[in-house]
Point group: C2
Chain length 209, copies 2
């Protein structure tokens, strides 16, 4: 079997990321409601399971030594340690889901997204941008009452955020959750319509005749 | 001024093409109704103006010698001769409209689209595919009652159409006009959200501060 064809026939890995506080979680939840066919990537963690949580649904709950083995065996698309606990994205779950032709969504911090990009560059990387970046000029300059220090520090933050975007395929402003979701849905639709994926599908069909 | 930034800040040239009879005209008309902000690229022609037609609206009506000069001076993105008359896409109209930030749509035969791609590779090239390509397998094999010749000739046509797709960025099946339009709208939305265009916009804003 042609490897390239079979890869192009898979689902898409959609990576939704952006600066903290931008509303990734809210947009991701709304998007999943809007597109129930999207499969949410379940993270692995070493933290204790909480009441109401289910293994394999909220997280894959792991012992620390198992988690460290997953890191060692390159079984995680990304991982990080927060306050003594490990969190990561199991490669196997993503791979298996994509192989069924379903799209997977991964909602993740910027540092994690950069790790995923290293290991899975064919993903669709979407940067969720703060709405105030949209009014960059007026925000930075203000009403003429801002000190030079304020203007400079706002400028520095804006520049940092813009440089981050360079690692992504798309930039979506989160000005309104439903608008942001509609834009992401358009991106997913368009990615599926890309020539390479479509030709691969037709070629596969012809082969099967 | 940074040339790259200014180009990325322009509108998109959307080229809608596909095999004859696929319904390009119908889809294009429906799309323009759905997206009134899309500017339709007006062709130049040497044919006689007809009652009810307006110069600059239906066509730019040209004398043959003026048209030949436009070819000579590379002022057409593509051109062709049909039954003694010349038809072509004036580069100037497209360029000026894109410079205002508006998107332009060009509905055109496959040969013309290939010419446009040579001169304007940054366009968004969309191949409108016949709906029966979607049911490729069943159509080619039929109900087991097809002769080998029929199967082979259907296979040949399908393969030709698929090879054509390779020159485009996207493939949209025209199974239903409203679905095809929605897909094209998603493509245009997604193209505007591409990182390079977004970063260029933000960088321009920062520069203007």
């Amino acid at each position: 079997m042609n490897k390239q064809v079979s890869e192009l026939d898979q689902g898409l890995l959609v990576v939704l990321s952006g600066p903290s506080g931008v509303g990734k979680g809210t947009v991701c939840a709304a998007l999943r409601e809007r597109m129930p066919e999207l499969v949410y990537s379940v993270s692995a963690t070493t933290r204790q399971i909480r009441a109401g949580e289910q293994d394999g649904v909220n997280y894959f709950f792991k012992q620390k030594e198992d988690f460290l083995k997953m890191i060692e065996n390159d079984q995680l698309l990304e991982w990080a340690e927060y306050v003594g606990n490990y969190y990561g994205t199991p490669r196997e779950f993503v791979k298996k889901t994509l192989a069924t032709g379903k799209d997977v969504i991964l909602e993740i911090e910027v540092q994690g997204a950069l790790q995923v990009k290293q290991k899975f560059p064919e993903g669709v990387f979407i940067f969720l941008a703060p709405p105030d970046l949209k009014e960059l000029r007026s925000r930075i300059v203000g009403r003429g009452t801002e000190t030079e220090d304020t203007v400079n520090s706002r400028m520095a933050v804006a520049k940092e955020e813009i440089e981050l975007m360079d690692n992504y395929n798309y930039v979506v402003v989160n000005d309104q959750v439903d608008l942001a979701c509609a834009r992401i849905e358009s991106i997913i639709t368009a990615e599926h319509l890309q020539k390479d994926r479509q030709i691969a599908k037709y070629r596969k069909w012809i082969k099967e005749v």
